[in-house]
């Protein structure tokens, strides 16, 4: 990529005058190596403003999941992460988890309780909310994803589409201000995919999702990032980035 091309994909840094409000996510110099030595993140710089809807693209192994798992402290690399202005540290990780709802790619990694209701209630229960508030939140979260009637079922007996929606409910019940989703539409049939996308579009949260689904990125995101080998190599408004054939091709991506 030439330097002029790169310039069009620079993150939209707020101007000094308009930066009174804090960014939803700020990451500086983030590096992470897996215990076996794989350098999965190699200097991530990223700023996401409140209300943005960001699609994270890139081939398998680019480091998308690894990056996302840093946002609520599941993985801890070196570098700085700020969520809503608060630096992520051992002391703040608990409160940051209340603000960042993380949905794993595989619902079986997300759901660990014997019933759907228990799983959706886990977050609010752990936070120490009172009984009425918990029931209200679980009910709202299940209603939001259209899964109220499976509340008493075993999570792993649901279809993949249902499990994906229940996974989302388990973090919605915590009422986070940022949602982080790893490949939310992967493996879904067209109807389940459509339902999930409509659901995500209706949510008010700041959104950051990894995806290979270019139509989903185009229709639901306002901004797109491309990762390669542990770095963010392109960043810009989704319409511009997806219209840039040569850049997409360079990183192995293609339009539907």
């Amino acid at each position: 990529m030439s330097s002029s091309e790169l310039a069009t994909f620079q993150p939209s840094v707020p101007t000094a005058t308009g930066s009174a409000r804090v960014s939803a996510i700020e990451i500086a110099g983030l590096h992470y190596n897996y215990p076996d030595g794989t350098a999965a993140l190699d200097g991530i710089e990223l700023r996401v403003e409140a209300g943005e809807r960001v699609a994270l693209m890139g081939l398998n192994g680019a480091g998308k999941s690894t990056l996302l798992m840093h946002l609520n402290g599941i993985l801890r690399g070196t570098g700085q992460i700020r969520i809503l202005g608060h630096e992520l540290t051992d002391a703040t990780v608990g409160e940051i988890r209340a603000q960042v709802g993380f949905v794993f790619q595989n619902p079986d990694d997300q759901l660990f309780s014997p019933s759907v209701w228990d799983d959706v209630a886990y977050g609010p229960l752990y936070m120490g909310l009172d009984r009425d508030e918990i029931e209200r939140r679980v009910d709202r979260a299940l209603a939001a994803v259209g899964m109220r009637d499976v509340a008493d079922k075993l999570p792993h007996h649901l279809s993949l589409g249902q499990r994906k929606r229940v996974s989302l409910a388990t973090v919605l019940s915590m009422e986070p201000s940022i949602l982080v989703l790893d490949e939310p539409t992967a493996g879904l049939d067209p109807a389940a995919r459509r339902q999930l996308i409509e659901l995500l579009d209706s949510l008010p949260q700041t959104l950051l999702f990894a995806t290979h689904d270019m139509r989903f990125a185009r229709d639901s995101a306002t901004r797109a990032l491309i990762m390669q080998a542990g770095r963010i190599v392109a960043d810009g408004p989704v319409a511009e980035l997806l219209a840039d054939g040569p850049t997409l091709e360079r990183y192995g991506l293609e339009l539907p």
Binding site: F112, P114, G128
Partner: protein, 265 residues
């Protein structure tokens, strides 16, 4: 996500040494005989334990496995061995010392018993560690079959080895999911109570069991669909013992027999 590397012995099995090259059946027989011989040796036979230690030490040197690997494995066995410690106080015999506060008396006979049990256990564990560190699991399982260990047992062990890691990783992912949603709010007490958290963990174990059980049924159906009848077949080239293997077998068995006979007669 993977298990801690120190839990598996794979990277040690891939090394090379005199012992790595030996026939798995021979190693298995030698290891089991060593364990029997050490167990047969009566308590307090320090000379015999010393002789066993020399043999076990020789195998450890021949394996060229790092000392750290042996120490970690021996460490895993320690909690079980610790169960023998109360014997110091329960064996009747000449008083060694009295525990202040409790007033329990330790006996010399008790000390001898505990020391012997710890020694026996450690010698057996070090021998087993040598076997496991120098033999890949497939070779070990094949050795069990060729030694005519009942098929049900060998195929159960094989499937257990295959799925142990799958299940352990599944458990780790469940713990990660729980951690990911264990959040706190200012002015609220996070984590409720120890009892509540224990209840959650208990239900997670239940869920893991249920998932594993259902997985086992799916695996069985898939295997049966491909003609599984209880035998694990292989077309890999079969090993046959060479001169070194026979020499090692003869040498070790006579050493163990010699020590045991010397002690018992």
């Amino acid at each position: 996500m993977s298990l801690p590397a120190w839990l598996t012995a794979e990277r040690y099995q891939a090394r090379d040494s005199f012992l790595h090259r030996r026939d798995a059946r021979i190693k298995l027989v030698v290891t089991v005989s060593a364990a029997f011989a050490v167990t047969l040796t009566p308590e307090g036979n320090w000379l015999a334990f010393g002789a066993f230690a020399l043999v076990v030490g020789a195998f450890m040197v021949l394996s060229r496995l790092p000392v750290g690997f042996y120490l970690r494995r021996a460490g895993l066995a320690l909690p079980f061995v610790a169960a023998a410690v109360p014997l110091i106080f329960t064996r009747p015999g000449e008083t060694l010392f009295t525990l202040p506060l409790f007033g329990w008396t330790a006996s010399t006979a008790g000390l001898v018993a505990v020391a012997s049990i710890v020694l026996k256990a450690m010698l057996a564990v070090l021998m087993a560690t040598t076997l496991v560190g120098t033999t890949p699991p497939q070779a070990l399982l094949r050795a069990l079959e060729r030694l005519r260990v009942p098929r049900l047992l060998s195929s159960t062990i094989m499937l257990m080895y295959r799925y142990l890691f799958v299940i352990a990783e599944e458990g780790q992912r469940m713990l990660r999911a729980r951690e990911s949603r264990s959040a706190s709010r200012v002015n609220l007490h996070a984590g409720r109570s120890v009892g509540w958290r224990a209840g959650v963990l208990g239900r997670m174990v239940g869920t893991l069991f249920l998932r594993s059980y259902e997985r086992s049924e799916r695996v069985y159906v898939a295997m049966a669909a491909r003609g599984y009848d209880g035998t694990i077949r292989t077309v890999r080239a079969e090993h046959s013992p060479d001169t070194f293997d026979w020499l090692m077998l003869l040498g070790s068995l006579s050493a163990f027999a010699g020590i045991v006979v010397y002690v018992l007669v």
